[in-house]
């Protein structure tokens, strides 16, 4: 369905496209972080692409998986309401350098989603106008949706003193 998009990307960007997958009519493309903005600008502005709808932006943690090469992967889903096609962009990240250029300049809708991804996974989006937590409070330490976050770790804001009445 969106094979034309994959073909256009591979022919135009070559080495920046690390791999493409097409399964169950669900096309996705793996892009190097350095070229992300360039690829996305093309996807948004080109007349044949015309991706005008930012569907979601999130992250996946591959800790402990057999195919774990890069631990974190930022995932972006785009859709075109005029051309009726869609594409998923995956950006693999090296651990210790969790930085991705922001896409909130291209699609404003990604502003809060990037903040959420930062809040939950600790991925920083360079160039984002307001890079801080969105759900959790300032006293919260760490990133709760990472696989190595202990499930019983809490940062309480209010607790009472216990008395045996």
């Amino acid at each position: 369905m969106s094979q034309a998009v994959l073909d256009a990307l591979t022919s135009k960007f070559g080495d920046a496209i690390l791999s493409t997958q097409s399964k169950y009519q669900d096309e996705s493309v793996t892009v190097a972080p350095a070229k992300l903005v360039e690829v996305c600008t093309f996807l948004k502005d080109d007349d044949k692409m015309a991706f005008d709808s930012p569907v979601f932006l999130t992250c996946t943690d591959h800790m402990g998986l057999p195919d774990e090469k890069h631990r974190f992967e930022v995932v972006v889903q785009l859709r075109s309401t005029t051309k009726k096609h869609r594409i998923r962009i995956k950006v693999p990240l090296e651990e210790g350098k969790l930085k991705v250029p922001t896409l909130s300049g291209l699609w404003v809708g990604f502003n809060w989603l990037e903040r959420e991804t930062y809040d939950m996974y600790g991925v920083e989006f360079e160039g984002h106008p307001d890079m801080r937590r969105i759900y959790m409070y300032d006293e919260f330490e760490g990133f709760p949706l990472r696989k190595d976050f202990p499930k019983d770790r809490r940062f309480p804001l209010a607790r009472r003193e216990w008395t045996d009445e």
Binding site: A158, R159, E165
Partner: protein
């Protein structure tokens, strides 16, 4: 005409009145609220227990019903509302999320509101049946009449300590 004298402790008389006139502050955050509405509506009719009138200001209420999941971020607000209740204040934890955190064993949910405020009656269930809630209200009535809620016990203890201090001073 014979001399008829009715004697009772003033405290017991006050508690008898309190148990039939709970003014509820509904602290509703989640799906359990549907069951609370059902309990308050005519079919199950909380009015039979004198608790039919939800007040949306804690200063006009003495029974706080914590209905639904309380997150860590909400904790300070919960504490603050509890501190503003008219005394003596009673608390019911409505549903498993309020009682223990329920199935939310994670970073964001308080593992039971008794971590933050003292709770008098826990109503389990996800969500609890209205019959369970009525049972909980009746348990609370019994507890109030006997003066065994957290607030009443604390009040008596503080009065006792105050009297002891006065006796020492005298």
């Amino acid at each position: 005409m014979g001399l008829e004298i009715t004697t009772t402790k003033l405290e017991d008389l006050a508690n008898w009145g309190r148990k039939f006139s709970f003014f509820t502050y509904p602290f509703i955050t989640a799906c359990c609220g549907m069951e609370f509405m059902s309990v308050a509506a005519p079919k199950y009719d909380l009015a039979r227990f004198g608790a039919e009138f939800p007040r949306f200001s804690p200063r006009q209420s003495d029974l706080m019903m914590v209905v639904g999941t309380i997150t860590e971020k909400q904790g300070p607000a919960l504490k603050r509302v509890y501190d503003q209740l008219a005394e003596p204040a009673f608390v019911i934890a409505f549903g498993v999320c309020a009682s223990t955190g329920g199935f939310y064993q994670n970073y964001s949910v308080v593992p039971g509101i008794d971590q933050i405020i003292p709770v008098d009656v826990y109503i389990p269930g996800c969500p609890p049946r209205p019959e369970q809630v009525l049972d909980g209200i009746m348990l609370l009535q019994k507890k109030v009449a006997e003066g065994r809620t957290h607030h009443q016990v604390r009040g008596r203890r503080e009065a006792l300590e105050k009297r002891e201090q006065q006796n020492e001073g005298a």
